[in-house]
């Protein structure tokens, strides 16, 4: 039996729960990202709170609804992560995602090529978790997966008034370098999330709990 079964029971079979599988950045990257989340909230207020509602992370498998037992997801990930070794992530600095989000590009290496290790980690995790996704999941069908996957660390998410985007993006760029240029990808986490409104402004009431952690190569 997987440790934590009592905590898992609170999430299982609940249509108001979404799960996510994330790469946890190193301390230095985490600290820099969290500081930016906090400063954006202090300087721009409610316009810039959604990214900071999350822990610092790079998504490997985005939000998904599931009726499966959490223990079964963990067992599947245990198997999928066998042989996945720690690897170097390159921090390519902030880029715009449309006109409502700003993220740090960690998909590429220094030469603009896809980091094969992070792409592979996404693909094995996505494949392992796909069987558990509820057919009515509202996130997975529109997820950037497989060839469309783009690993990132979010600094600003879902800006509700896009007329402020250029200014906030410039503000973030002034902070460069945000975190180390390289860091080691070493830990991955499975999370459960709750929100009052998964089809609307879900960030406003987002709460989360870490369910399980894996050390790559461990």
């Amino acid at each position: 039996m997987v440790e934590g079964q009592e905590r898992f029971a609170a999430y299982e079979g609940d249509p108001g729960v979404r799960f996510g599988f994330y790469l946890r950045p190193s301390y230095a990257m985490c600290n820099a990202q969290a500081e930016m989340h906090a400063l954006l909230r202090r300087q721009f207020g409610q316009l810039a709170v959604t990214a900071g509602a999350f822990m610092p992370h790079a998504t490997l498998k985005g939000f998904y609804r599931s009726d499966a037992a959490v223990g079964d997801m963990i067992v599947a990930l245990d198997a999928a992560l066998i042989g996945q070794q720690p690897f170097t992530v390159v921090n390519n600095g902030p880029i715009a995602y449309g006109r409502s989000s700003v993220v740090i590009n960690v998909q590429h290496d220094e030469f603009g090529e896809t980091n094969p290790a992070i792409q592979r980690l996404h693909e094995v995790a996505f494949a392992a978790l796909s069987p558990f996704v509820h057919p009515e999941c509202n996130f997975t069908p529109v997820e950037w997966a497989g060839p469309a996957f783009f690993a990132h660390l979010t600094l600003l998410q879902g800006l509700p008034r896009t007329e402020f985007f250029d200014e906030i993006f410039a503000f973030i760029q002034e902070a460069e370098p945000i975190g180390p240029r390289r860091f080691q990808a070493e830990y991955v986490h499975l999370y459960a999330f709750r929100s009052d409104d998964w089809t609307g402004d879900w960030g406003k009431s987002l709460t989360w709990e870490m369910l399980h952690s894996w050390k790559l190569g461990g």
Partner: protein, 210 residues
Amino acid sequence: MKAQLPAIDSRDPRVRFGLYLRPPYAMSRAVAAMHELMRRQFGQTRAGKYMPHATIGFFQADAPWPDLAAAVAPVLAGRAPFAVQNHGPIAMGRSVVLDIHHDDGGVNAALQALHDDAHAALSPLIADDLSDRFRWPSDRFQAHVTLAQTIRPDWLRDEILAFARAAEPIGPRRFLAEYVHLYAVLSDDWDADDWSDSLMWELLASWRLG
């Protein structure tokens, strides 16, 4: 999809408006860090209820906020960004602030002119019977970035000033004034001693100089 503009009722007695200079990242970060430390060390929370800023004007108005934005827009259009000097912490009444009012030659003329022109443009929209105490006539304007606001108890001010001076330099010595923001700032009771306990704010409009 265009987001709805904030529904701020100017006649709501909780509502005030702030026209603020938004500091650049390095200054914002330093001021936010000092706000946090003031809360942690001295329990002083007022300054940190606001975003890092330098006040150009703070007022109560009858006019809807889009009218305020329309009045101030021509003042900002065509105005070039300008340098601001940060002279470090000083006491200002019961507050401890960064003095940015001066440059090497005296009063920072660009900052004073921004205040005076904005004040002139907004004055017709500021109701006399509502807001005299929020008016900042030209000769009373003193540009600053607040680190600790209306310190309670007031005998703590000198210690907090010394503490802030020990943190020097707080942010860059010079920075570019480039963005001006209009905010709605709300308190449940502006006349109460604890007016800042219920303080909330929302960014309404932003202008980039130049």
